[in-house]
């Protein structure tokens, strides 16, 4: 399974330092090939949106990035170092990446504050006081200062996802991975989550975002990568992807979404 290196995989962002490098990454689930040789790089400070049809491998690539899924071929470099195979070593790398899930996955038995403070307290060994002080600051940052003592079940989807973003940020990650962060939300709460993400991008956070929100991708992304059938079809700045897509399949995909350029 030796796919040629994708055009632009190494040429974009010259002069900046890569945080994540994918080299011919292959992932199979049984007989199904989810990733059929993906090569790409994410540079520091970039906001990269992964788009494409369902089942095209975007989410799988994201889950491989922090070793929630193990790859079957190729390699992934994080900060220049190959993702380790051993679970205990992978854990150390994982701490440097924040992840936000489609279904929020807040811990239902903890308050919003508890959800955010639990990582720094148990994993980074911060004092409860320090962890909670930071958690309050982060809640304020995502606009939920008054919800510190609320349990997830009492929060709206948009509020839960903002808490989940704060929980990931509490670990001071170098990269934030977003796995369809707005797909499970009511339309009226999508905006508040995207706003938080936009602010994060403006602060210079490196972000990899799997999304179906084309407007967000177009406005916020520094680069867009289009997936289909486990491969990268095309990548480039949003203006290229949305206005002048080179590849027929990109045009097809955007056309199906009703995107008119």
């Amino acid at each position: 399974m030796n796919a040629p290196v994708q055009a632009g995989a190494t040429g974009i962002g010259a002069g900046r330092s890569p945080v994540i490098v994918y080299e011919d990454v292959v992932k199979r689930f049984g007989a199904f090939t989810a990733l059929g040789g993906v090569s790409a790089r994410i540079d520091r400070g970039e906001v990269v949106c992964l788009i494409g049809p369902s089942g095209s491998g975007k989410s799988t690539l994201l889950r491989c990035t922090n070793a929630l899924e193990r790859i079957d071929g190729g390699r992934i470099l994080f900060d220049g170092v190959k993702l380790p195979a051993a679970e205990s070593a992978a854990r150390k790398v994982r701490r440097r990446m924040g992840m936000v899930f489609q279904n929020f996955e807040l811990f239902p038995h903890m308050t919003a504050l508890g959800n955010i403070a639990v990582g720094p307290k148990t994993i980074l060994g911060q004092s409860l006081d320090a962890a909670e002080r930071r958690a309050r600051a982060l809640l304020d940052k995502v606009g939920l200062a008054e919800k510190a003592d609320s349990y997830p079940s009492t929060l709206s989807g948009g509020q839960q996802q903002r808490v989940a973003i704060a929980r990931a940020l509490a670990m001071d990650p170098e990269v934030m991975l977003f796995d369809e962060p707005t797909s499970a939300l009511d339309p009226e709460t999508v905006g508040e989550v995207l706003n938080v993400m936009k602010h994060l991008a403006q602060e210079g956070m490196t972000m990899v975002v799997v999304t179906h929100e084309m407007t967000f991708a177009r406005r916020v992304a520094s680069r867009v990568i289009v997936f289909d059938h486990g491969r990268i079809v095309e990548q480039g700045p949003p203006t290229q992807i949305f206005e002048n897509p080179v590849e027929e399949r990109t045009r097809d995909f955007l056309g199906h979404l009703g995107w008119s350029g």
Partner: protein, 216 residues
């Protein structure tokens, strides 16, 4: 036929002692079998999980009364340790209930969404941390109604240790029956006492079901 209910009153102090032993046996068994069940459930998730599986399948598929007899007659021969009847009964009940609790906890853990584990892993938690902080607190809360039901069953099943002469309520009642030949009175008294103690516990279980039962 004449009834002589005074026999119950005459032996009230022995019956009260029996009740104390029954309650004590129930409380101590559960105190051992909850951590025991947790430990076996966790053991089953490790490389030597087959040991835990064997334990569960062994005790789950034997009649409790056989386990009690076996612990009383066979175990002392095998390991050369002689326990008091109370300790023997406690051990047998704890082993059997641990096996049941292990299955209960396993069901609870399996009911937690995989996404919760992903979220804990993504934060950088180890398996031990994610079990302790994320999965078990949710799983235990979820299986609380089942544990409560096990408790009530256990309360009644403690009567089985009467076969090895542990002086709990059933054994005491039977002894008095044998001495006084007041079969109807003693069996009725025993039934009334078990029922009066069991009913509030069953109601408590119902309440726990309502409060902690999974509604999502």
């Amino acid at each position: 036929m004449t009834y002589d209910w005074s026999v119950v009153w005459q032996h009230r102090s022995a019956l009260a002692d029996g009740v104390v032993i029954t309650v004590l046996l129930t409380v101590l068994t559960m105190a051992l079998a909850v951590p025991g069940g947790l430990a076996i459930m966790l053991l089953r998730q490790t490389r030597i999980g087959v040991v835990g599986t064997a334990f569960v399948e062994f005790f789950r598929n034997l009649p409790l009364i056989l386990v009690i007899y076996w612990t009383f007659y066979v175990l002392p021969i095998l390991v050369d340790v002689v326990l008091s009847p109370f300790a023997t009964g406690l051990l047998a009940l704890s082993l059997a209930v641990s096996a049941y609790n292990a299955e209960t906890f396993r069901a609870g853990v399996n009911s937690i969404r995989k996404g919760q584990v992903d979220a804990a892993l993504a934060l950088g938690m180890s398996w031990t941390q994610l079990m302790r902080i994320v999965v078990l607190p949710q799983a235990i809360r979820r299986v609380l109604p089942v544990l409560a039901s096990t408790w009530v069953s256990l309360f009644k099943d403690t009567s089985l240790v009467s076969v090895i002469a542990v002086g709990e309520l059933a054994y005491t009642s039977m002894q008095i029956r044998a001495q006084t030949f007041r079969v109807l009175e003693m069996l009725t008294a025993m039934a009334v006492i078990y029922w009066c103690l069991g009913y509030p516990q069953a109601k408590l279980v119902d309440w726990i079901h309502r409060k902690y039962g999974v509604t999502e």
